[in-house]
């Protein structure tokens, strides 16, 4: 038994090492002063900060970074606001249109984005929203997953507590803002995190809707990263490393929200 157990631990460590090898090579490559050794196994020097400095001062990269921060922030805040209101209303209020909203959420959950992508593109091109910030933000201003997640969580708020607030004379808006929102905080943070990460990583929509370089985001910039003399791998890797850091930092702070969002409905229930 004892031997079996330590074998398991050794195998686990081996597996983890294999998983982390590409990351290690990423750091090595991002730190390389040139592209002489692309294997990423040996440090050929440590020029990570020089490389990052070069990326940040050369060309439009800071602008892409700003665009990504701006769009991902705007989208996630909008999604949280709209999903919180709709999810709470679905779970705890009776109103005309409730069944309609629930049906819309189910429909949106079961549709693949590929289906709506073309008509939304056509629609935005008709109203002149291609190549605009609003064109990059509006299509993601809410999410079926967000509404659904908030609704599931809001079902845990005791109706009695809302009645208590009503007897106290609070308006429905005050009840939402002062009672529901604080109690929904874990769900709202989950939605915020998931949507921020999704937008930070959104390649296809900016690819379609933003042909102007001023509106490019990080994924778009990374996907066509070229220096003055074609692809420069160590700089491209350093840029990729920059794009990876904010999600990793966010994740390490909000890990439990992330996991709860992922496993919602799948494991328990």
């Amino acid at each position: 038994m004892r031997i079996g157990r330590s074998l398991t631990v050794v195998a686990l460590i081996g597996f983890v090492a294999l998983m982390l090898l590409p990351l290690y090579s990423m750091i090595v490559l991002a730190s390389a002063p040139d592209d002489s050794d692309l294997s990423g196994l040996r440090f050929t020097g440590f020029a990570l900060f020089d490389n990052i400095g070069e990326i940040m001062t050369d060309g439009r990269f800071p602008r892409y970074l700003m665009n990504s921060v701006l769009i991902a922030s705007a989208v996630s805040v909008l999604d949280v606001a709209i999903s919180a209101a709709a999810g709470y209303a679905l779970a705890r209020l009776r109103f005309p249109g409730r069944a309609a909203l629930l049906n819309l959420v189910v429909v949106a959950l079961s549709l693949t984005p590929a289906v709506v992508m073309i008509p939304v593109f056509v629609m935005l091109s008709e109203i002149g929203w291609l190549n605009s910030y609003q064109g990059l933000i509006a299509p993601f201003a809410a999410s079926a997953l967000g509404v659904f997640l908030v609704r599931q969580f809001a079902l845990g708020i005791p109706v009695q507590m809302l009645h208590a607030a009503r007897v106290d004379g609070a308006s429905e808006l005050r009840i939402f803002l002062r009672i529901a929102v604080p109690l929904l905080r874990p769900a709202l943070l989950t939605v915020l995190l998931l949507q921020f990460l999704a937008q930070w990583d959104n390649l296809i929509w900016p690819l379609i809707a933003a042909s102007e370089q001023d509106l490019w985001t990080l994924p778009l910039a990374l996907s066509s990263f070229e220096g003055e003399h074609g692809i420069v791998y160590h700089l491209q890797t350093a840029a990729a490393l920059i794009s990876i850091l904010p999600p990793l930092v966010l994740f390490s702070f909000l890990q439990r929200y992330y996991v709860s969002g992922l496993t919602l409905g799948g494991v328990k229930r």
Partner: protein, 294 residues
């Protein structure tokens, strides 16, 4: 008393609910319901963004079923889905069982395994471009194994497998975490009972753990399959669908038709087919789970 100024609780509640739900209703109608209907309509038309859509009936669908490129794309998608989902789930489960046990060290390992899953896909794919480049990590490892360098992304025999290795690496951690959550939600006394019965580790795994994880399995398979069938970024970034369409998955075929060739009608027809396949799959899974519950 049901006038617009009624102050009964149900009237107040109805107004508040409608108000809170209104933005979401507008959003879902504008960006999901109407576009879905429009996509269905477009799929029966020829449309290139200039002028108005021309009704062509079933022509797009007819062209699709007779197109070699479409069927090649279906085949690639099928291959991609099976070989991305199968190994990922098997590896994830095998790793999750020992990782699910309590302890600080294991919690730490779980965090590390999860890192690739948290990485943005675009950044990760860019990293794998370098890994698969000439003289990159893939060549170095192949050399160490005595195989020698290979044209990983430019040879149609290797490209799809190269793609799959990256995708498995990217997502296995996610399913490890989901399985760990599922395992930790299982009642501990089942395993204690199995241990008292003297069941060996492997027996316990197949006869106790796997059946109890049925729900988690269903969830994981639905998420993984629907995810794989809609996967666009790795194939787009690593190989652009090549060489010779060897990695042109359906979403990429759709994208190329719509945004490279401006064939919005035909692309919409592809989207509708993709949607139908996904719905049939999800529905089958759903009914299977239903029948399990009874």
């Amino acid at each position: 008393m049901i006038g617009s100024k009624a102050r009964t609780m149900s009237a107040v509640e109805a107004r508040a609910g409608a108000g809170l739900a209104a933005p979401a209703i507008v959003y879902f109608v504008l960006f999901w319901a109407l576009p879905a209907l429009a996509a269905l309509y477009l799929s029966f038309t020829s449309y290139d963004l200039s002028g108005t859509p021309q009704w062509v009936g079933l022509d797009n669908y007819r062209e699709m079923v007779t197109s070699d490129e479409f069927w090649s794309s279906v085949w690639v998608t099928l291959l991609y889905t099976i070989f991305a989902v199968g190994p990922t789930i098997v590896i994830a489960l095998v790793v999750a069982v020992p990782l699910a046990k309590p302890g600080r060290f294991r919690a730490w390992l779980r965090g590390l395994v999860f890192i690739p899953a948290v990485m943005p896909l675009v950044g990760a794919t860019v990293l794998w471009q370098v890994i698969y480049s000439t003289g990159g990590l893939a060549d170095a490892l192949a050399g160490a194994a005595g195989v020698g360098p290979r044209p990983w992304l430019t040879d149609s025999d290797y490209a799809i497998w190269a793609l799959l290795v990256m995708v498995i690496w990217k997502y296995v951690g996610l399913y490890v975490i989901i399985f760990v959550a599922g395992l930790q939600a299982l009642p501990a006394n089942v395993f204690e009972a199995a241990a008292i019965d003297g069941a060996r580790t492997l027996r316990t795994f197949f006869l106790v753990t796997v059946p109890l994880l049925r729900r988690t399995f269903t969830f994981v398979i639905v998420v993984a399959v629907t995810g794989a069938m809609q996967s666009f970024v790795p194939a787009y970034l690593l190989t652009k669908g090549g060489p010779v369409n060897a990695t042109q998955v359906l979403p990429l075929y759709l994208y190329n038709n719509a945004f490279s060739f401006s064939r919005f009608g035909y692309a919409s027809a592809i989207a509708i087919v993709l949607l139908v396949v996904l719905l049939v799959f999800a529905f089958t899974q759903f009914t299977l789970v239903r029948s399990d519950d009874e």
